[in-house]
Amino acid sequence: MNEVETIFNISLKARFGDLKLDLEYKGSKHVLGVFGVSGAGKTTFLECLAGLRKVMSGQIAVAGEIWLDTETNCFVRTEKRYVGYVPQDHLLFPHKNVRGNLEAGKARAVESGPDFQSVLKKVVAVLELEPLLDRSIDQLSGGERQRVSLGRALCSGPKLLLLDEPLASLDLPLRRKILPFLIRTKEAFELPMVVVSHNPTELQVLCDEVLILENGRNVMVGSPNELFTSDSLFEVAKQHGFENVFSGAIIEKSDQVDRLSLSGKDGEISIQIPATDALVGDRVLASIGSDNVLIGLEQPRGLSARNCLSATISRIENAGTRWLVHSVVADAVSDFVVEVTSDAIEALQLESGARIYLVFKTSSVSTLTG
């Protein structure tokens, strides 16, 4: 077996005003999420990675390249770190049009190897920027600006992409439009990424591993689902919109509803969701709140709810004032989390390994994309 390549090797100690940053992280996952409430130091952490802030002591190595090592006095300047930084407020250059913005990092991109024109072409195609190329920045909508900002970073030959709250400045409908571009970026460019967000759902969708920041310290690291349903974090995560997220392909469409296949095999496990703009075959992300699902011990009959999935309880955990039942629907489907009261656990005698039915209404499913 090949040794797993370490992508991020970070240890930082720094003080900026009231914020004391003190964290260590080593990981081999491509996409790292950083979750925390406002003021936890998320943006500061990104700025340290980008070399925009001086660190008192620490090391930063990304994909084998050392950018900072205070012990050996090594400090690679921002412009030599090959990071693509997408700030929350896009920060496009107002004196350049869209094409000018995309070409702003051309010199470094050319230096870093791949043919710039083909990269530009790929970025324009993936982010659907063709119709915007000759527009000035003030002619762009919020979502378009975010896409151009992402495109500008991708065109600069980055070896690491830093996304700071990529969707926070957008309203809900726009987030749904931009999220697929982020997913496409992740899939098409296969770059190591660090995504900062205070929205658990975004991190669930985009990240392989999440680091929880609290007052500048990383208090937890783990898979998004595992972390956001943990005892200490569930309340906060739910407040910021934690939901069960599923990826699937549309297999059937009608006027009011679509059918979404969750497992790979011929739509063996599928759910009904409200109609989307997606076409049959398109991949769609759907989510459902953990408090919007009922648990039955038998397959229910005569209910208006259109979705009933057979599942097996994998574990039951206490999360603050609630209990969370984790269940597995199928191998390919991510863990399904349902909130219940302790009464319900007792009455139904729920325990690990028990077979249950998950019941929910079509209308309580929301689509994150499409």
Binding site: A50, L52, R77, T78, E79, K80, R81, Y82, V83, G84, Y85, P87, L91, F93, P94, H95, A104, G105, A107, R108, A109, E111, I137, D138, R152, A153, S156, G157
Partner: protein, 226 residues
């Protein structure tokens, strides 16, 4: 006697020269004051503003002392004669010193108005400090810098107090629009004084009006960018 056109054209030429001389150190100091923190920043800022608040005649006298034979830049000190006093060079030097503060102050505001986060964005895109300055800071500050140049130019154009002390008021040699107007008024030549006044009004109006237009365009662009 030089014609009115000769007076005007030499005044314009000297003001242009003064603006060019001011531009390079002025830009550097304005950028430093806008973007860097360093020891003595307030002292530097005060020194560059001094000619704006001192009586121009005091500045002229100071320059006269500086270039006098026994002054710091005089013949006895440096070993040769710079031949400044009462020459066209004196006009240009007096105009440069007097327009320096207004150029630096306006250019400093122009630099300060450029969002420093845009400059940092440039660095994440692989640009070194010099390239960030040339391709982000300078173009974004350009309207303000043009306004600074225009204001500095008009200040040089209208300079009187320092010039008359350092360069005198020699028709055909060191006489400027301002000193010619003074002479015309003193000698009772109202027709000439009126003509010179008209020219001064016209040039001043064009310069300030252009500055105003640039400033309004700048603020509307800032709103859009925000």
């Amino acid at each position: 006697m030089p014609t009115i056109y000769e007076t005007i054209s030499s005044t314009l030429l000297w003001a242009v020269l003064a603006s060019l001389i001011v531009a390079v150190p002025g830009l550097a100091i304005a950028y430093l004051l806008a973007r860097r923190e360093f020891l003595g920043k307030k002292v530097l800022s005060t020194f560059t503003t001094l000619p704006l608040v001192l009586p121009p005649t005091a500045v002229g006298y100071l320059l006269l002392r500086l270039f006098a034979d026994d002054g710091w830049l005089g013949r006895e000190r440096i070993g040769f004669d710079l031949d400044i006093i009462l020459s066209w060079k004196a006009v240009v030097i007096a105009c440069s010193i007097m327009s320096f503060p207004i150029f630096v102050r306006t250019a400093r505001v122009a630099f300060e108005e450029v969002n420093p986060r845009l400059e940092r964005m440039g660095r994440t895109l692989g640009m070194g400090r010099q390239k960030v300055f040339l391709s982000i800071t300078l173009p974004l500050a350009s309207r303000g810098l043009i306004a600074a140049t225009l204001l500095g130019f008009t200040r040089a154009l209208g300079e009187f107090g320092a010039t008359i002390i350092l360069a005198g008021n020699i028709p055909g040699r060191t006489q400027t629009l301002a000193s010619a107007l003074f002479s015309a008024q003193q000698s009772g030549n109202e027709a000439l004084a009126n003509q010179l006044l008209g020219v001064a009004l016209l040039v001043g109006f064009i310069a300030v009006y252009t500055t105003e237009r640039l400033a309004s365009k700048r603020s509307s662009r800032k709103e859009q960018a925000g």
